[in-house]
């Protein structure tokens, strides 16, 4: 069923009894051309673009929990393409362009809201770094504006501009950045893939990868063996565990990242504001809750929950930036497991095993990449050649000496 203003109106008249489930709940077939491990944003987007753009429809997406139980349902919904390096910048800009047309493309309201993303700076050195980043963005055709202190003050008057340690000097603004309703992204892609014939199989955990003469021929799952021509891993948070089933050792550590939502407030922040120096970022959801977070907890973790120390740290940083937060109550918190790669950049590549494909290492920036990741991964799987904007995301780049170290902190995953 296509959604439209008319379908909403007519269903309203009929007591909203006419809505059908947005996707089927099929039993697994014995064999698929492509099996995607992981029914998160990236896995579902990959299935969607495989079917829609590349005509590969005999596809299954295997998800061990329910759709949206991983990081697609556990993030702060921010989209942006304010990247510095040539390997990253065109890729995230492709993602931004796909976001801009996403709802029309998959006929689902994902609440794409280009409210802008503002990165604050607090020193001459930081201003110079952001000036350079903004110039790099504009050279790549991405929008960027350097705002001075007065311009930031007009936009966000409630910030603590005269903070003793981090006085606000200005900010780098990307007007096209913003937020998207994260669950709706999963649902929209799932519906779009399903309607083109993709089987989305939930509550189906992959427990082993079966190989014959070195080649992958299928996966052992909690619903039995399922054969496949190509196996595509997109199991963020558990990439190490799944790759291990094929004997693949990865440049990945798993870390937990927490985020928080406050009680609902009247309209307060109409953009996304980041306070990198203090490890804090915030936006306001359409329901009124402030959505905010900070850094990863810093030690390896597979638990989808955090600890109170990080809650306190984020609250302190938030208060330093926005003193009026002192009266705001936290409504809830959650933690997602991040695949932290060793240079802070993702991996989309074939592995040394012929029909095994890998999509991992999104660190804590995977959500904004969802459309481009799915598109480029689908391209790789369908054509056996990397999409031109994802060519730098090779698995062997570390060994070859071409890491994409956006943050410049070296092979230290808990710092990216």
């Amino acid at each position: 069923m296509r959604y439209s203003a008319l379908s909403i109106f007519l269903n309203g008249l009929r007591g909203n009894k006419g809505w059908a489930p947005a996707w089927r709940d099929p039993a697994p077939k014995p064999h698929y051309d492509v099996i995607i491990v992981g029914g998160g944003g990236h896995g579902l987007a990959t299935a969607y673009y495989l079917a829609k753009e590349f005509g590969v429809t005999n596809v299954a997406v295997l998800e061990k929990g329910y759709l949206g139980s991983g990081n697609i349902g556990r993030n702060t919904t921010i989209i942006r393409s304010n990247y510095l390096l040539p390997g990253n910048n065109p890729f995230y800009e492709l993602s931004m362009k796909l976001w801009e047309g996403l709802e029309q493309d998959f006929n689902f309201n994902a609440m794409v809201s280009q409210r802008g993303v503002l990165n604050l700076f607090h020193s001459d050195a930081q201003r110079d770094a952001y000036t350079r980043r903004g110039n790099a963005m504009r050279l790549h055709g991405v929008d960027a504006e350097l705002l001075d202190r007065q311009a930031v003050r007009r936009k966000l008057p409630f910030l603590d501009f005269d903070n003793a340690r981090f006085p606000i000097m200005g900010g780098l603004f990307q007007p096209r950045g913003g937020t998207v309703r994260h669950d709706a992204v999963a649902w929209g892609y799932a519906r779009g893939a399903d309607s083109r014939g993709v089987d989305i199989i939930t509550q189906c955990e992959v427990t082993g990868i079966r190989r014959e003469n070195g080649e992958v021929i299928g996966v052992e799952t909690s619903k039995g063996f399922i054969g496949c021509g190509k196996l595509a891993l997109a199991a963020a948070g558990n990439s190490t565990v799944v790759a291990d089933m094929a004997g693949l050792r990865l440049p990945i550590e798993s870390h937990v990242l927490q985020a928080f939502v406050s009680e609902g407030l009247k309209p307060f922040i109409d953009t996304v504001v980041t306070f990198g120096a203090g490890h804090f970022y915030a936006s306001q959801s359409d329901k009124g809750g402030l959505v905010f977070g900070g850094d990863i907890d810093g030690y390896n973790s597979y638990a989808q929950r955090g600890n109170l120390a990080s809650v306190e740290h984020v609250a302190e940083a938030g208060l330093a930036l926005i003193p009026s937060l002192s009266r705001v109550r936290y409504l809830r918190s959650w933690g997602g497991v991040m695949d932290m790669s060793m240079d802070g950049s993702p991996i989309i590549d074939r592995t040394h095993i012929d029909n095994l494909y890998l999509n991992t290492g999104w660190c804590y920036g995977g959500f904004k990449a969802t459309p481009a990741s799915g598109f480029c991964y689908a391209h790789l799987i369908a054509r056996n050649a990397p999409h031109q904007t994802a060519r730098a995301f090779r698995l062997d780049r570390f060994a070859r000496g071409y890491p994409i170290d956006e943050k410049g902190v070296g092979a230290q995953p808990n710092l990216h």
Partner: protein, 93 residues
């Protein structure tokens, strides 16, 4: 995770007193060990789901390097020992 780490020198201390360096199972190769051994050491990780031993520095306490054995799923701490002393073969008192 457990909010307290039992430092063998200082006793149970809040974990905010510590800085974390990561995997304590990595063995630094010889300088001439070759590119592959160094790639392995610098970039590849076991990243286990379960028990994991890692370096924690008691940076706001005794400033000793410790090896903390911790479960990455339950966050339970199974053991803490002094890194240097245990490498010399002796456990701290």
């Amino acid at each position: 995770m457990a909010s307290l780490i039992s430092c063998p020198h200082c006793g149970a201390r809040p974990k905010e007193e510590f800085s974390i360096r990561g995997d304590a199972g990595l063995v630094r190769p010889a300088p001439n060990a070759g590119a592959e051994a160094w790639f392995d050491y610098v970039y590849l990780r076991d990243n286990p789901r379960g028990r994991h031993s890692e370096y924690w520095h008691h940076s706001s306490g005794c400033r000793r390097w410790l090896i903390v054995e911790r479960d990455t799923v339950t966050h339970a701490v199974h053991g803490v020992r002094d890194a240097a002393l245990s490498k010399l073969g002796g456990e701290p008192a």
